[in-house]
Amino acid sequence: MATTEKYVGQSVLRKEDPELLTGRGRYTDDLSINGMVWMSVVRSPFAHARIKSVDVSKALEVPGVVAAFAGSDFEWAGPLLMAWPVTDDLKNAPHMPLATDKARYQGDGVAVVIGETRGAAMDGAESVDVDYEPLSAVTDVEAAIDHGAPIVHDDFGTNESYTWSLTNGKVDEVFANAPVVVKERYRVQRQVPNAIEPRAILVEPNAASGHFTMWSSTQIPHVLRTAMALATGIPESKLRIVAPRVGGGFGSKLQVYPEEALALAVAQKLRRPIKWVETRSEGYLATHHGRDQVQEMEIAADEDGKILGFRANILANMGAYLRIIAPGTPVLGAFLYCGAYMGEAYHVSITGVYTNTTPVDAYRGAGRPESTNAIERAMDALARRVGKDVVEIRRMNFMPPFTEATQSIGGLMIDSGNYPATLDAALEMFDVEQLRKEQQARRDAGDTRQIGIGFSTYLENCGWGPSKVIGGVLQYAGGGWEAATIRCHPTGKVVVITGATPHGQGGETVYAQVAADELGIKVEDVEVLFGDTDISPNGWDTYGSRGAAVGTPAVAQAAARVREKARKIAAHELEVPQDEIEWSDGAFRLRGAPDVAKTIPQIAFSAWTAHHLPTGVEPGLEGSAFFDPENLVFPFGAHICAVEVDTETGKTEVLKYVAVDDIGTVLNPMLAEGQVIGGVVQGIAEALFEEAAYDESGNLISSNMANYAIPGAPDVPSIEVGMPTVTPSTTNELGIKGVGETGTIASPPAVLNAVVDALTPLGVTAIERPASPENVWRAIRDAQATGGGAA
């Protein structure tokens, strides 16, 4: 049956949900194999220590322990993949799955113990005797580049890994001559990503064939397959990686982890299936962290606040090793220190620094929340300096609306944009006037609970691709295309195989929507397969808001190939030349006689029996495509936040939050809004609550879910989401921009600007992140010590 109903743009209910709602989804930890043994990793309690010896003999005496291995017991074919050498002279210390010479962060693996049960493996791990010589540790990114700091990788003689920079225009001249220069310093505190599913791995070796199947809670089965072949020497053709249901990633599962290589290597040694599941507290040490930058942000402007130049110097904490895309993570935000604004000159410099901390890598937004923090907060500082309203300062500096790709001063060719439109829409939804009146009344009354309003009019770049750009100027080792195959069964049901690996976003649903529209079938008749390298052999997986922006066009392109072949068969069966039929209302129809038609299911059946195919047309109906975009995509929007800050306790509450985002074509409004809401709340948590902190010895203090402040339902507000404008991307034919990361990119500065606005009567102009009660109290105290305003 052909259908004229279009699914794209509809809030189609998710295909994923019935199984997830009934406990029938299978995550890695839900899987078991007969004969399976458990792995436990022995981790360094010290942030920095020389490993003098590792003795596993006592572990072998523990009942139920099968084997135990130190780092020296493994021969690796190569280190864990580090795929983004951003500069030619970057210093990269190869990261082996277990440390042998030094432990370089608390949690660095030094040995593994294998037991018949989870408990036996853990008991055994406690019996491994490691002789450490503790060394001084450095965890702070600024301290790490001080003369005399402990050196993480001795051979380098420095903790600086690389400095990447970009300059557009006459920066020094502009800054020297500018009437106004604001200079701000921000610390973007370290975060623990906290996907609710802990990482888990199960490896099944086939001793006869030499094949290995690894189930892993990963975002990147395809990348992982290649990386595991490089690390273990197992031929890639004998490796199958399966990411079954994955319980969230937020970048933390966009990684090639030591435990994955270890589980494979141990399975190879023991010829037994191996399982490893991290405990949450272990994950706080062993799963990569995010953010952790110190930013120096300057804006040069004229007396009216018209921006002339942008200059940012960034110190980025890489942790103890450079992980898969860690050096490039800050570079993903490097083109956005100008936000959505115009200027004549632009400079950004990023220095990546080793420290004795858990490696830092992509966390939802990856580099762009950091740059957006800098520019959006500095815009408020500029407004304060020149005495302009924070809305006016943004409006007067916006790039004017454009529908064809346009160059920004930050060096991006932006697909399309209309920045004033989202700001106008957000203002309309928010009712700023009413809150300003309330704010003034409380200020006049010297109320202990002050109100603040904060803005963030962000721009971002995402939809990770295109291959020639990311592999060219950006020096990334991987590709940025996506693959899709569409296979039509004889009964008219369709399978879509995608190389993207959705892990909660709803990709299964939107890919089915697009395929159904493109083939004129029902969305219920489409199954979407992914996350298994034997089923979906080609792909670059899901991160960087690429699932919709790169994955979906690949599905559409595969569908176009199916239609291209189906057209020949349809014309043959209707006994007319091909140019006499057209694709309309979900079927091939005779021009002028649309009731004479052939649907895809009808053609699929003919292609399967192959009784009457036209000459030269092969049996079967399927199509494959590799979509490599021409450019990234550039979502934008305006977020407005109102907070109430208790000036006596320092506690901040978000009263109201409006998010207006332009993500181009909206495939499924319900899912897109879900992405925005989830991201905004995660960003509010970053702004107000969360921080991964180390003590002076390098112990992670916020070391588990009980003492790291993940907000619960009572701690966060409802978000009002709007997508009233659609500025289609010119990067793909569907007009899609990404949406997965907009929330965490936009929201932290909106919240922080609101906090500073609330405290303005107390003379506060700066707040440390997170704006916790303690940091609010410090800000008030510091402002009063320097003779700030009275309240």
Binding site: R24, A195, A713
Partner: protein, 155 residues
């Protein structure tokens, strides 16, 4: 080893368990009911929430032997025999109250337990009731909306 007799989803299970076995591991590894998830080791996340004699409880905070002689209900028993979703599960689907799905069984069991106590809660009461259940995907908003919807309240 200790002999334990627990009624799980209406069926009596007798098992020999190590005294240190947590209820969640009896469910997951002993009985193969893997719908109940483990998300932390500090009883913070609530992914493992089940009903014990009709009241929601984190199954990582109880030893299996403490459930002896009692009735446990897990996510597997929430849908009808033919797989049709319960009104609460339907509401989660309709309101997009889940993304990755990992916290979802715990959220649904916590909500089911709460709605039995308070069949027509306010939004604020629902938020308070969910305090012990963490979600990293949804920002809670649509979970709250789902529960309000299921309670028959105006969302």
């Amino acid at each position: 080893m200790t002999r334990t007799a627990v009624t799980v989803n209406g069926e009596l299970h007798e098992a020999e368990v190590e005294p240190r076995t947590l209820l969640v591991y009896l469910l997951r590894e002993g009985l193969g009911l893997t719908g109940t998830n483990v998300g932390c080791d500090t009883s913070s996340c609530g992914s493992c929430t089940v009903l014990l004699d009709g009241e929601s409880v984190k199954s990582c905070t109880l030893l299996a032997v403490q459930a002896d002689g009692r009735e446990v209900t897990t996510i597997e028993a929430m849908a009808g025999p033919d797989g049709e979703l319960s009104p609460l599960q339907e509401a989660f689907r309709r309101n997009h109250g889940l993304q990755c799905g990992y916290c979802t069984p715990g959220m649904i069991m916590a909500a089911a337990g709460y709605l039995r106590e308070n069949p027509s809660p306010t939004e604020e009461e629902v938020r308070e009731a969910l305090e012990g259940n963490l979600c990293r995907c949804t920002g809670y908003q649509n979970i709250v909306a789902s529960i309000m919807d299921a309670a028959g309240a105006k969302v």
